[in-house]
Amino acid sequence: MDLNYSAADLQWRDEVRRFLDASLPADTRGRLLEGLPAGVEDIRRWQRTLYAHGWGAVAWPERFGGLGLSKVRQHLFELECATAGAPPQLPFGLKMLGPVLMQFGNPTQQQYFLPRILSGEHWWCQGYSEPGAGSDLASLKTRAVLDGEHYVVNGQKAWNTLGQHADWMFCLVRTDAAAKPQRGISFLLIDMRSPGISVRPTKLLDGTPEVNEIWFENVRVPVAQRVGEENQGWTYAKFLLEHERTSIAGVGVARRAMAHLRRVAAVHSQGGRAMIEDPLFRARVAQLDIELTALEITNLRMISQEASKTAPTPDASILKIRGSQIQQAISELLLETIGIRALPFAELPAQAPASPALPGPVHAAGLTANYLNLRKLSIFGGSNEIQKNIIAHMLLDS
């Protein structure tokens, strides 16, 4: 057993740091280190920058334009990027669709779509959930009916993240209404500019239009844009979920938030002393910092041992639950550092978020918006209740 990074791993980390020092735009970095969310333009620009450096998708195999990095180095990359204040890379193309296309897509699809994900030319969104199909995804109703060389799609998707900016959607549709729910689903790639699609952004708690309702009315999708076999979509969707665990814990983002918490708590005082000097508060920060270390080591252990596991494990669910809880808890403490100053509020502009002109500490509105926004972490991507069901099921039934 050796829990240290290898010399080569550390070299990689240093290379990433040098790159970030040189290439991460100062305005983006400033925003993210101040606890504000990344704007849409931050995300686009960063993907272009990474791509230009050959790092558009470090996790992908080399034959598809990636670096074929080990899991541990992927972890280091995400940790360094996040703590330096880099925006997230959009997960929909890179982490979700990409691996599915590599495994199940045909060469035409791979050659057309993968390079455009890498470069950031295509913004992808995920069209799974529907008003009536959230946790119970297999009950989805959006239907696709074959008509010559096209599917004709009708239905409605819900809670679609940032789909208002998307060029493409990967989408689960029902192609066989008579089969068992999981058997009659297909996996389609849909051009968001197709006639018959309407998109309505809706605001989250913090006022940001981060999700969308999307309607399909006789939208024609070429059969060539189906991934894999008809009615096998559920298999691909499950494959996709199982391949998105390296970063599911969100260690890097949590580390950035923890550093922010310590900064803010050292600056803001209540009752005449800095919050970080308040023994009660300090103990709570310490508790969270410890939990975060446990999360990081657990994450590293699980991803290191992943390849040697033969049976399915509840690892991803454990990481998702604790990762979301820790991020949410940090956002709560951040809010508490400023007491009543958390209440003046203004929505943040989506393109390039900036602290609104409100009285009080500059961080205040960002902290409140952040607390509100992060309530989503325990709901999306399989709610924490569903993750607990999965863990219990694996413990008891296998």
């Binding site: 819900a158 809670w159 809706t202 989250l204 708690l205 006022g207 007491g339 509100l372």
Partner: protein
């Protein structure tokens, strides 16, 4: 021992219910938040017509003098509907302050107008760094040739943008030690600057800066006001607990209803035991919050000052923790609907968040309580 409301208090509750039913549709709070004033003047007149603005006006001025329990009863109902009119700010805090501390002329000048809904007053006391303590004031007042000169800042004063009268606390450094004093200040006086904004729960508030504000000696209300002002602040805290309890109760009901209706995996999600247990925990928080809200109001009726401070802090801790737990779990159990701003849950969540932070946040009260052990 008796935990029930009197007939009179029950009637007040009915009046508040009627008002809320007539004036607040499903979306009343949100519609008002979108207007320039942030509240409805028409509804405010209705409050007056039903006598609710006279709740804390003494009988000799034609008021109801309903006391902390009557206030609890009304605020509970207002909290259920997330009422945004300045009831707590003007009809509880400021009205009580004038009734207790105003000179006969000030009482005659303001109480009838406040009760009639013709004027709104707010108490500007807290300075953003602690809790609702009468002596915690950094704003200073200095005597200067028969006038007072005030300098300082007040933070997050709810409903200040709507106010016709500000009741501003300041410290006077007398040879015998510092005293807290209260001043009646017209919001448009030279030297007063309001920076207004919307709060996270969709209400209106302002930071107020006072710079070389000159006031006639008649602007001072009472003399050394510490004890009376503390009693007013305590009643405000108790009223906030009552409002919060109302919001908690409604949100609990919304969650029960939603989980009975929402179907996933072929059954209402209320059938899942994990969610049943969560709702049982929410209900437990709610019942503790109810008890402590009653305790807070009762202490305002009868408690002696030291014991009252501890009891109010205990109440705020329990109510604040209930606000956080019930708020977060209601969102969680609504899934995507919980985080979507269009649906009601998010409004309750944000109101509960504001309640946690106002009148001293949970951690502040925990620390104060610890100091009393």
């Amino acid at each position: 021992m008796d935990f029930s409301f009197s007939d009179e208090q029950g009637m007040l509750m009915d009046a508040a219910r009627r008002l809320v039913t007539d004036q607040y549709g499903r979306d009343g709070a949100r519609q008002r938040a979108a207007t320039a004033d942030g509240y409805s003047r028409a509804t405010w007149s209705e409050f007056a017509r039903l006598g609710l603005l006279a709740l804390n006006v003494p009988e000799e001025h034609g008021g109801l003098d309903a006391g902390p329990i009557g206030t609890l009863a009304v605020c509970f109902v207002l909290g259920e509907a997330l009422v945004v009119e300045p009831f707590l700010s003007s009809a509880v805090l400021a009205t009580l302050a004038i009734a207790r501390l105003g000179s006969p002329e000030q009482r005659l000048q303001w109480l009838p107008r406040l009760a009639a809904g013709e004027a709104i007053a707010v108490l500007a006391h807290e300075e953003g760094d602690g809790g609702p303590v009468a002596t915690a004031v950094r704003t200073v007042a200095v005597a200067d040739g028969g006038e007072w000169v005030l300098d300082g800042c007040k933070s997050v004063v709810y409903h200040a943008p709507a106010a016709d009268l500000l009741l501003v606390t300041a410290r006077i450094d007398a040879p015998t030690g510092a005293q807290t004093a209260l001043f009646a200040v017209p919001p448009d006086a030279a030297g007063v600057a309001l920076q207004p904004y919307v709060t996270v729960d969709g209400q209106r508030a302002a930071d107020i800066s006072l710079h070389q504000l000159r006031l006639p000696s008649s602007a001072r209300m009472g003399a050394e006001v510490g004890a009376d002002l503390q009693a007013v602040l305590d009643q405000g805290l108790a009223a906030l607990c009552a409002e919060t309890l109302g919001a908690l109760e409604r949100l609990m009901r919304m969650t029960l209803d939603y989980t009975r209706e929402r179907v996933q995996f072929g059954v209402p999600i209320a059938r899942f035991q994990a969610l049943q247990h969560r709702m049982a925990e929410m209900a437990t928080h709610l019942e503790f919050a109810r008890s402590m809200t009653y305790l807070a109001a009762s202490q305002c009726v009868a408690g002696e000052p030291a014991g009252r401070a501890a009891a109010l802090s205990a109440a705020k801790v329990i109510v604040g923790q209930a606000a956080r737990f019930v708020g977060q779990q209601a969102v969680q159990l609504h899934g995507g609907m919980g985080v979507a701003d269009e649906y009601g849950v998010s409004h309750y969540f944000k109101r509960l968040l504001a309640a946690e932070c106002r009148f001293g946040a949970t951690a502040w009260h925990l620390t104060r309580y610890a100091g009393t052990l």
